[in-house]
Amino acid sequence: MGLTGLFLIFFLVVHASINGCIWFNDGGKTFLYYAHFMGTNFLVHIAEFGLFAGLILHIVDGLLLWKQNRDARPVKYSYSVVPEKSKWYSRSMGILGTLILFFLIVHLRNFWGPNRLNQITTGEELNLFDRMQEDFNNLWMVLLYVGGCFSLFWHLLHGFKSAFQSLGLNNVKYNQAIEIAGTAFAIIVPLVFALMPISFYFHLVH
């Protein structure tokens, strides 16, 4: 869980950096340059397999975890109070992850799927910048993306710190730093992603 989670976190950094290039406001030139590299480079294609494998492992692992943990208490309490120190989002990682998954399916259908299909059938890449401009004119689509990022925020708020605890990479000296870095990461990355469709919707990117 921790290893695959950190791997996905690493992917998020790359993904956010490249997509952030839309804000150069050069009609997507810089963005498309990197998108072209990511879409055609052989090594990146191999890494892409790794990414899907990592994502699937993460999901399978998460579902196993969820099932084992549910089965570990066959008879539930009739009445239970949640201690304040235990956070709702820590208890809801499975649900938050599932929300992210639904979002990811729509997201991949929007960009990744059609692009790869086009590459296979015609050998040409799609202009993903144009597609973004089109898709994010639709308010519902923008709201869906913002919702996906919101789920990601909660998922990461627990996940980032949790991964360090799970891997035993936890030390009284560094806990504070991990805490701050985790919270900052959980806020910044989903926020950057959420701002993309919003920027397109309000025509702040061109």
Partner: protein, 248 residues
Amino acid sequence: MKFNLKVWRQKNAKAQGKLVDYTIDNINADMSFLEMVDVLNDNLTRKGEDPIAFDHDCREGICGMCSMYISGRAHGPHHAATTCQLYMRSFKDGDTIYVEPFRAGAFPIIKDLVTDRSAFDRIIAKGGFVSVNTGQAQDANNLPVDKADAEKAMDAAACIGCGACVAACPNSAAMLFVSAKISQLALLPQGGPERNNRAINMVNQMDEEGFGNCTNIGACEAECPKEIKLTNIARMNREYLVASLINE
């Protein structure tokens, strides 16, 4: 004081249990929760009914025997206290109090509020000790221990094996208990030679007993009567990971 109690009654491990309502009056505010149940049982016995089975022993917060999930929390509403250290003054006159056993597949119910927590003993039997004991206690200066490590080991050793961590955890994980037992030895030189096998064997036994997996939620730490810290779990994970990488 007067209370309405909803107590879990279950004849034996296989029977279907249910919450049964009792009312009790004339309870002294300074009685412990266990003494209140004693009074209730006395009343039941006089009426010819079956008294409520519950675990207890030292009644001073050191043995870990008393359990009970009271008002939705392991050992009741008091922070860092066992059920024998919970007093009726913590409740309001006329309160309705839920009393259930610690619930986990790995802690099967024997009767009413009594659960079988021998899974913990089987985990300890897999390595929660130092195998050899040679000669007399030697001079303390022969084995220097860093003061900070000694403190951490002592803090971990405060665990009384009560199982509140399992009861409070939404996953019924036993990581806080096992990590305390692994940590108290991992931090001291005496525990060094066997640390790798200890970590692997105890963790494997924990999984075999059917406890859930830790997802770093923190309910255990919040409810532990001895305030065992989550950092012990990180230490156990580290011990286990290192041991799995290098053990032959």
